[in-house]
Symmetry: C3
Subunit: 674 residues, 3 copies
């Protein structure tokens, strides 16, 4: 990991502590700071009146001390003078009220006026700072996404731009009406102006909601790319990216966004997640980097405003985990806890008082340990996953846009799949349908309801040449407008999976508690359907939930069948071999944990992927280059047998067994010639 | 049951499948389709430009195949051009925001402009289609009621019409102020324009909220009747009605509405209810029909977007249950699952793909079985109930309008009462206070807080002539404005029940969780009060909840007394004989299940109504004409002894015992001369 | 207790019952009625047209019967004509919608127009009624506070007045920006008009939210004082106050408000609280009275719309408890239950019908008993507390304004502290930081994050001269703008407590359930940290929650240390002796109940305050003058040994032991010369 550091806000603290801060930083092994984020009102206190002195002075001082700098554009928080003079730059809520100054993310992404100011500021920064050799990267804005309402702007400008976007997408209203399927509920449109952005809670048609999501994602991405262009013009060769938070799948299509930017920047606050979900987040960013690596641009040094205070050694475990997963940078949010503002309780490395306490010590111990091992470790290649889960934003937004399907729990289902692999320490990429599949031995499709012909062809080729596909849930049943296909599914994959999918059923109840007023006793809300059969020579049974498919067997082998209700006796899990590979399909969006574990072991074995059974879930074992990282994420000592062909390079061992104290870490290097 | 069928949407699917669909329909025993609902934009794509070709072609083709047609007016979903050109037809939310195109039910019920268009469309349809012999009924709009906010329109037009409605009702502000009791909190009105429709959440006075509910109900009913008049003018003799959903008691007074329409149409989705609540819904509609029968205009063929997928034989059990309860028609919503739109997951009989799968098979099996038995069954008279529960919309809305009483759970309490009868297979009508009581032996009054003199007189006469009245909870304490009477209760019933009701107490807590912030430990929210005594010779005890009355005994017999708190030692359940009958009154809105069972058995015995004790609750036994229907609603085999004077006409018997497999049905006919 | 009575609304009921009501009142020992509240529309039915006849007649009749009168200004509910003609008097919701007529508290506190009308009405009332000798007090408005949205007005007038208020407070925007710490998230203000009142849900900066709270509190207080001035001008010498509800700490600073008014008026509905919280409320009002006593202006006679109906003797227990705590008046809300309106189910002394039933009997029994003992009891001095809890509105609002700190549960924590004292029957004042501490032996500081220099000096002096201070939680860490101090804490108290507070951690999770969507398993939301050590010679251990401090020990003695996570091994509870006294500090906002009990016993012993251990929590023992009141608040008989030097003056005793039946009361008088 090349870059260790933190965010630094001289515009907030003033310049007096700069020298002392740099001394403490150097002492703690910090070599990188991130600056400028949120500084607009201190960079341009009045329109056209700039003050870059503090920024110049800081960058120069850091440069003189060998500290790298990441510069952020300050556009996540426009200054009050800007939104006062140009109120059209403020976002409008779905209920028509305009947001006001006083927090952040309150601007309209599509406002031409706001984009003009942002472009101007980005260019100004780039021009001013182009000369500094210690600027190693640029960050656009901060955690691009919805405002405090969880929504994007609904101003009349956005409405008109949405209508224009639809016009470009569909050409004519006739075509839009046809594609959206407006013939039910008399929804045909006869004028583009009749089509408005949807409110999250409105009972709008799925097609409209899905297109509104696509529009929003494009506007966000375009907003970022506009700024990136300005910076790239004046500072060529320096990576430009934007930091996104751990909500891995939200309003923006990260695959599209980071395709147009450089190494993906990740804000990862571990204590928001269990370790398996945190690993899943890192898998996404490693996959987004596709060889370029990824940066942890924000992480916590202590307790956030959330949950349990960390154990003194927990920061180190988290840091090594990110390193093992392929991170190139590890930057703590923020050097010092702010005295004021909405984030006054988000703990920095230093206390409010500037006191270097527990968190400084934890960071320092970790950074110094990593720095001291850097020479020995060298430049490790990214870790190499043999399994991949395919994630598709179109499908995810489609579920969200559906009236019933929003209940499908696409992300929880995916994370259960991931957890089954994580428990066995199988490193897994999370990739788009466009990814090169040839790198993998196992490719998993979680409820991908929209399957394109090209993707299907590549899956066929993948299996032909020996790969294993495992598909689950609603596969290939809908078109790109979120509408069901008129042909039965799985679209383009009937041959590969050996089945027809005639339809299916959502099992999860949607009844809100207050609708149940005279339904007594309260109805069971989560429905499970039994299934049973053989997995290889092993009899298995369990339950399916959330959604089950109406399967018609064509060819291959039926592994499990449903054993109750409508589909009783029908195939539930099937196997079909093609070429040198095979495909397994489970016609359920969710399987119970034991059954899913069995299924995952079955396909891993089929794919020839080695896995570690028997380790507790809180122990991560990750290989990067020839180094194996063993990380203990619990407040209990654990032991891990060292392979004869490995040598300990960090951590403690007794009689050939690594001994990991609570939150302890152990690094093993493959012996040469083994 | 004469009409078996489904909804059909050629305007959505086009005409290509019509022949094939008719073939499949005939094969499945379908003899009726419902059409036109939601088709406005395809009937009149531009103002004044009509396209009825598809409708003519469909009706003719159905006619040629011997299939009946129900035509629906498409007014539940105005086309986009209409609401664009006439925005005043769109409803306005309580917060002042106008709804927009893109769902349904977004129109203003009182808008003169919208009513003009609806009247025009209804008349146009009636004129166009008057000639077809296979049109057997008309349906107005669809599930009349609130928009997506759960409220009606709050536009300035509605406000003014509400003010005019009040002016007509009360004559003068002086009278309104007096009747509403505006003297507390300084609420006297001095100008009609000061009185506005209430927001559901506003802390408005009960009288104002109740009148707003009455106004809304009238506007909805008038809206329906306006269309009905147009149709009746051009298509005399054909039944005209409207379909309402299973929310039996909502914003509309069904007794008033269906009094002005023909046989009531019911949309009944079984899997939304337990079977006892589903039976209660059917009781309401049978009672609404009062001899005209009722139609199930919508029902599900499979899983909705809710709950558990049905067992393959469950559709048949549901169908027979509706038949036994007196339904004349049984129409599935819808022939084929739509590909698009908000209801794309509401499963039709066919799959999205048109595939005739599980649901087609279940429907076909059921319809064919019924068709094959039709000759044998003949035209059965409606089933005949000896018990009735009196439901009063004024009381129900009164509770809803009350600040405290909205907690009374009028409907749950009524459904507990009904359940006690249902468990014993006692068929029960649910009727308005205006119903003819002489048909019954037992009449139940559940918390009817407004008792009119005429109703009281008829109750007296009913008891005099041998009937049994069972009253429960808050009886005769309020006037028609939801205000307490200045005289103590039970209004007009003091003599019949033998008590004074000096007042009472709500026991159910209203404290919202977030108000409880410094109340530790959390307060018990549901309060129960003990009571005990004798029921006949049987000692009983139990608990009362929700509301208890402050009873002063006048004459008769005290059965139970309260045994704790304020009312300890006071009468709780009393018996008073009058003429050849008797009245039992329980001064509690809810009794625990065991006590209520005992009380219901006690009054059933007194009324001489036969009941079946000992059957599980999931077995329905209903007599219609000389036929007894036994229906098993659970996934377990059950046995039912056949009476010597009955013969099996459908189902399986062994040694004089009917054997009902899971979801099995058995029909027994009374032997002649028995 | 001098004044026993109820609220009376002749404007609602008319004058016909006046004689009969007075007869019943006198019979029940009532000597005081409260009138005029909410009567505006009946006092001034049209602008400038007055009708005071009913009020004159009532006051005169009461006077003739020896009944005192409290007159209320009717400003809590403006008449419809007023808000119609002057719509700017209506409050505006945070979302911009203006409230409408039809409930109460819907006016704008700052509206010059509304204040003009209120001043006019108050003056008119004072002038009209100045001559009556039986008017003993005036009440301003009713339960001053937020409207139905739980917020104050957000109209443009309020916005401008808030901006003006800030201008006066900070002088310049530069100073405001500095004090508010606007440098993070680019929040610098460049125009006063950019600063708006915050919506409760808006993610505004803590400083802005805190100042908005201060502004609101001032506007409310000013509103009350304006009316008080009018009344004092025309009716000098009569106490003027306002009644506040039991939400002891809400939007108004009661210390400031009642400093400008006379004896504090309390609306206390017991069944909203457990008895310990109810005692806490009375402590607050007794402390607000600081020698002037306090009045219970509203209390319930039966069930409210909440919870459990009372036991027949419960009213008496509640009354004696208020008397023992120092109340001078005890007025029931209201004479008779209203027939109509939002409060139609709030039970008065009489039933709706005017019937004198259970509640009349309970009130009469209690009032007569008290009246009969009055001569014997004489004028008892207020009860005298040796312990005090310091409450600070600035701190409370500061927590509420914080993004994370709003989770701190300041009030629950305080009530847990109070409960530990209450369980031991230690009477406790609840006072502002400005209170004279010399009266106490023990002063408790609950999470007071803002510590002023003057207050700190007085605490030092208090300890020097032998007092004991017990401090808990976040002490002296923030400035008056809710921002953290740049110096470590505890501000001004480092020497007294013997520690540095380097910072701390919130433990309570803020994650809303729906944010947790793909976090499985659900994260533990309440975190507890272990601590252990010695309290005197007693080994103790337990858990801390909500917030823990990062303590650095300077001098004194460490009693307990944290034993896990970040702060493991660090001091958690410390003791420091100074002069003749001592200070104990626990670095946790909440301790588990056992540990807190141990700590409170430890400091009570150190302070030499006698306490009663071993009594159940539902038994109150309070000394007022030489009389000891023992009150049983449960439905079980209890026994209490009578001290040899006391004599029974009310209640039942057997062999020197008082026997208290359910809800029984016993009064003991100290024998002379003991």
């Amino acid at each position: 990991m090349r870059y260790l550091g933190c965010a630094y806000y001289p515009e907030y603290w003033g310049m007096n502590r700069l020298r002392e801060d740099i001394r403490l930083m150097l002492d703690a092994g910090i070599n990188t700071v991130r600056m400028g984020e949120f500084a607009w009102c201190r960079l341009e206190p009045e329109e056209g009146v700039y003050n870059f002195d503090w920024l110049h002075e800081s960058i120069a001082a850091f440069g003189a001390s060998g500290i790298n700098v990441v510069i952020c554009t300050p556009t996540a928080a426009p200054p009050a003078w800007l939104t006062s003079v140009y109120p059209e730059t403020l976002a409008v809520r779905a209920d028509g009220r305009r947001l006001t100054h006083g927090a952040r993310r309150h601007y309209c992404f599509t406002s031409p006026e706001y984009r003009r100011h942002c472009g101007r500021m980005a260019a100004k920064l780039a021009v001013e700072l182009a000369g500094y050799g210690n600027i190693i990267a640029w960050q656009i804005d901060n955690e691009l996404g919805p405002n405090e309402d969880g929504a994007l702007c609904h101003c009349e400008g956005c409405q008109a731009r949405f209508q224009g976007w639809l016009q470009k997408r569909y050409g004519s209203l006739t075509e839009l009406n046809r594609k959206w399927g407006t013939g039910f509920w008399s929804m045909d449109y006869s004028d583009w102006r009749q089509i408005r952005l949807t409110d999250a809670r409105a009972w709008a048609a799925p097609s409209r909601k899905l297109d509104a999501k696509r529009f929003a994602a494009e506007m966000i991405a375009d907003f970022a790319i506009e700024q990136a262009s300005s910076i790239r013009e004046y500072c060529p060769g320096i990576p430009v990216s934007t930091n996104c938070d751990g909500t891995i799948f939200g309003m923006t299509d990260y695959f599209q966004l980071f395709d147009r930017l450089d190494a993906p920047f990740l804000d990862l606050y571990f204590d928001l997640y269990t370790m398996d979900v945190s690993a899943m987040v890192k898998h996404v960013y490693r996959s987004l980097g596709s060889g370029r690596g990824f940066w942890v641009t924000e992480t916590g040094a202590g307790a956030l405003d959330h949950g349990r205070p960390p154990h003194p050694d927990q920061f180190k475990a988290w840091m090594w985990s990110s390193y093992a997963h392929g991170a190139d940078a590890y930057l703590v949010f923020r050097w010092r806890t702010c005295l004021s503002g909405q984030e006054q309780d988000l703990q920095g490395i230093l206390e409010h008082s500037g006191h270097a306490g527990h968190r400084y010590q934890a960071v320092k111990n970790s950074f110094i340990e990593l720095r001291d091992l850097r020479a020995e470790l060298g430049e490790l290649p990214p870790p190499c996953a043999k399994a991949a889960i395919v994630h598709d934003y179109q499908t995810m937004w489609g579920y969200e846009a559906s009236v019933v399907g929003n209940d499908l729990q696409y992300l929880p289902n995916m994370s259960f799949l991931h957890k089954a692999l994580y428990k066995k320490n199988v490193l897994t990429d999370i990739v788009s349908p466009n990814a090169d599949l040839s790198r993998y031995r196992l490719v998993i499709l979680p409820s991908l309801m929209m399957i394109g012909a090209d993707f299907a062809n590549r899956l066929h080729a993948f299996v032909e040449s020996g790969g294993v596909v495992m598909a689950q849930g609603q596969i290939g049943l809908r078109d790109l407008q979120d509408n069901y296909l008129i042909n039965r599914g799985p679209d383009h994959l009937q041959d590969l999976l050996g089945v027809y999918l005639n339809g299916g059923m959502y099992l999860h109840s949607q009844v809100a508690p207050d609708e149940a007023i005279y339904l007594h006793p309260p109805r069971k809300r989560d429905v499970e359907i039994k299934l049973q059969g053989m997995m290889g020579s092993r009899p298995v049974n369990g339950t399916a939930a959330v959604w089950v498919g109406d399967l018609e067997f064509i060819s291959g082998e039926v592994l499990l069948r449903f054993s109750e209700d409508t589909y009783q006796g029908q195939p539930a899990v099937v196997l079909k071999k093609t070429g040198r590979g095979a495909a397994v399909y489970a016609a359920a969006a969710r399987l119970d944990e034991n059954l899913l574990d069995a299924l995952v072991e079955y396909v891993l074995s089929m794919a020839g992927i080695r896995f570690l059974a028997g380790l507790p879930i809180y122990v991560e074992v990750i290989r990067r280059g020839g180094v194996t990282f063993i990380i203990n994420h619990r407040d209990e000592e654990i032991r891990y047998p060292i392979d004869a062909c490995q040598s300990l390079i960090a951590g403690v061992a007794e009689n050939g067994t690594a001994v990991l104290k609570p939150y302890g870490v152990c690094l093993l290097r493959d012996n040469p010639n083994t």
